[in-house]
């Protein structure tokens, strides 16, 4: 289609007349008392916004909030690694571990940037955010699918219960406050929850990777990568309840 093929209402007298007449029906002027009432509502809304927890952070520019999030995660992972390092740290190649943690932090930063995207920017296509949620799980799964970094004890998990329970549970428990924090500093975009859940799953996995010495594939997939899946399923569950209540 070329520009000359494009038809606008000004090319069609009937449609133009129709649109103009219909447009005239929508009042152009707003009664001053209507505007005053609306202004009062807006001021009340702004007062409420300023009183919300972490309003000072939420109102900072997006790049500052993202930087704060990434720096916080790096510090948290660093202190976790310092205080409770992997027991297999002597056998795990440090370069590989750094790359894995770096990949998680990079994916986290991407999800965080989407979650905290400014309200004044056009919405991203929904498929991008869905794709990001899938990517957040796949990054962790891909690391889990790599050949084990070593074959020293405890490279393998023991029993199905351990596959799911320890790291899965700890991961979800770690991710929930991260999710809550991100939601407090985002600005309420409709896809913010999905991006925040993805980011929280990655943050939890970064901490698990810094601490958990089990390098068994099954454990990495079912214990670690599933953290993101549980969060997304939880989010879907909450959404289903909200929809059921007509919210």
């Amino acid at each position: 289609m070329t520009e000359t093929d494009i038809q606008h209402p000004e090319d069609d007298a009937d449609l133009r007349r129709w649109l103009a007449a219909a447009e005239a029906e929508v009042p152009r002027d707003v009664a001053p008392e209507d505007l005053s009432a609306l202004a009062a509502r807006v001021r009340a809304g702004i007062t409420e916004e300023d009183a919300r927890p972490l309003a000072g952070v939420r109102q900072r520019p997006a790049w500052q909030r993202n930087l704060l999030g990434v720096v916080s995660l790096v510090l948290l992972v660093g202190s976790t690694f310092a205080a409770f390092p992997r027991t297999d740290v002597a056998h795990y190649p440090l370069g590989r571990l750094s790359l894995e943690l770096g990949a998680f932090v990079a994916a986290f930063a991407l999800c965080l940037a989407v979650a905290t995207r400014g309200a004044h920017l056009p919405e991203l296509p929904r498929r991008w955010t869905y794709g990001l949620a899938v990517l957040a799980v796949l990054v962790v799964a891909a690391v889990g699918l790599l050949p084990p970094a070593h074959l020293h004890d405890p490279y393998v998990s023991r029993g199905l219960g351990e596959l799911f329970s320890h790291c899965g549970l700890v991961g979800v428990v770690l991710a929930l406050p991260v999710y809550a924090l991100i939601r407090l500093v985002d600005r309420g975009s409709s896809l913010g929850a999905l991006a925040a859940a993805s980011a929280a799953g990655l943050a939890a996995n970064t901490l698990l990777q810094a601490h958990c010495p089990v390098v068994d594939r099954a454990h990495m997939l079912l214990g670690h990568a599933m953290v993101g899946v549980w969060l997304l399923l939880g989010l879907l569950f909450v959404r289903a309840i909200e929809r059921g209540r007509g919210l």
């Binding site: 494009i6 009937d14 609306l38 939420r58 309200a119 920017l121």
Partner: protein
Amino acid sequence: MRAYCGGDRAAFDELFQRYAGLLLRVARRQLETEDQARDVVQETFVRLHAARHDFRQDARLRPWVMTIAMNLVREHWRRTKRRKTSLDDTLDARPGPVAEREPLETRQRADLLRRALGQLPASQREVVELHWLQERPFAEVAEIVGTSEGAVRVRAHRAYKTLKELLEPELGHD
């Protein structure tokens, strides 16, 4: 906006005076009830306030404000799963054959247009809203909806074509 970011409360009043009426008109046309329109206008200003430190001093405020409002309108429709009302139902309910009808009342015409706009995909509807009804140039519409100018022109073309098809029975008879 610079004064507002600096904490000048009076600057907010000026911003409100400048944009509230425009936003209310846009919201009224896009939404079904006056309450919904006011909610969107209120939330637009609240989000503008929250995002004020993201504003670049060399940027234009109008596309900024309109983008927030259009995002909220889209979010509203997504949340409420827009009820699809068939334009045909409305047209079928009209009294008498076309030749014998009285000229359409303005209110009825506005209602038919609103329903016809409601049949368009959201991406096309917002382009018609901004380009035709708000008389914004395509470049600015592209900035607001976050796509290229060419894509906006194509959406406009498709939207007007669909509108014409939907309103065809009424065009030329009023």
